[in-house]
Amino acid sequence: MDIKHYNQTPKRDATFITPPNIIKGKVGSGGLSEQVLKRAQKLLETHTSDFSPLADIYLSRMLEGIEKAENTNEEDVLEDLITAILLPCVQLKANGAMFHYQLVTRIADRFVQFMEVVECLDEETIEIAKAYHSTIKIVVAGKIKGDGGKQGDALVEELNRACMRYFEKHKTLKV
């Protein structure tokens, strides 16, 4: 007998339901035409909504989070402090490229990945957070749209290196 394990977790009594496919009944079949998809994509690529006011809100919240982490007290919970810095940056990552600021998305994405794995908010973590914050602020203020070309690559690379130096120092991190 091929027994893989002896785990006898009780089986869950699950009911499967197949709901009526209302939306299918309404839209029919055949998908959307290439022409419609291209028109929608063009709308996305050419809209002129200004990202700066939105970015400023998220940057301010991110800075508030950083300042709170700098002046932490015993009652503060690490997870909450990290979240206060992380969430505005997730918004910058999510919205940047939707408003033609692909470089903001790229930088913010790296920082989100960094913040998802850090296990403390020491001086060095905060320094890195400040570096990311300032860089995104400069990109938005300079209205650097698109991926930023070679300068954009250099910026991302420099921030990457700072993170790698950090991880080199904090080798016990479960990255």
């Binding site: 309404k26 419609v36 929608a40 939105l54």
Partner: protein, 190 residues
């Protein structure tokens, strides 16, 4: 013949006004007949109850009531007019643990921001052409979370009826898993 969204009602919940307008424009260009908008989960649920839309597209991070809380309400509250409505959750998060928590809240599809119109269309297509069964058990109600189940699964079969009805499902899911290799995104997270 192509899809006609003329009679389709979509509830769009997003707290970021420029983004809300942008998404509305994209849905209009898809030909969606009625687009109802709300700026947070609380207002979203109210409009959901009033309008009973065919599809909900919601952002995750909103205050005071976010997209996960909205999904919980739609799936579990008595006054919800359609607990089975497809829900697309948009978010900047793509880390597995975050995605799994959204999945456990009863989300149908997950759309990582930033996205392009083809990404959004893929989710719509998925919902229309490959609707998911719902599962009700003691601790969960929502779309079947086992989308990526494969035939060579060698772990525990934890559901009472696993031995009886999984052949067809497995075949279906395996095909889908094969089509969705690559980084963790929306349709391949489940």
């Amino acid at each position: 013949m192509t899809y006609s969204f003329q009679t389709t009602k979509v509830l769009l919940v997003e707290d970021n006004a420029p983004m809300l307008e942008l998404l509305k424009g994209i849905l209009q260009s898809f030909g969606i007949g009625t687009i109802i908008t709300a700026m947070d989960g609380e207002e979203g649920f109210l409009k959901f109850c009033q309008n009973n839309p065919d599809l909900v597209i919601t952002d995750w991070m909103m205050t005071p009531c976010d997209g996960i809380a909205l999904s919980h309400k739609i799936r579990n509250e008595k006054k919800s007019p359609n607990q089975y409505v497809p829900i697309i959750l948009m978010t900047g998060f793509s880390e597995k643990r975050r995605v799994f928590s959204a999945r456990d809240a009863g989300i149908t599809e997950f759309l990582v921001k930033p996205f392009n119109t083809r990404d959004l269309y893929k989710r719509l297509h998925q919902i229309i052409e490959r609707p998911r069964q719902f599962v009700r058990c003691e601790e969960f109600f929502g779309p079947d979370r086992r989308r990526k189940t494969t035939k060579d699964h060698d772990g525990l079969q934890r559901r009472q009826d696993d031995s009886g009805n999984t052949d067809e499902q497995n075949e279906d899911h395996t095909a889908e898993a094969q089509n969705n290799d690559g980084p963790l995104t929306d349709i391949d997270f489940l």
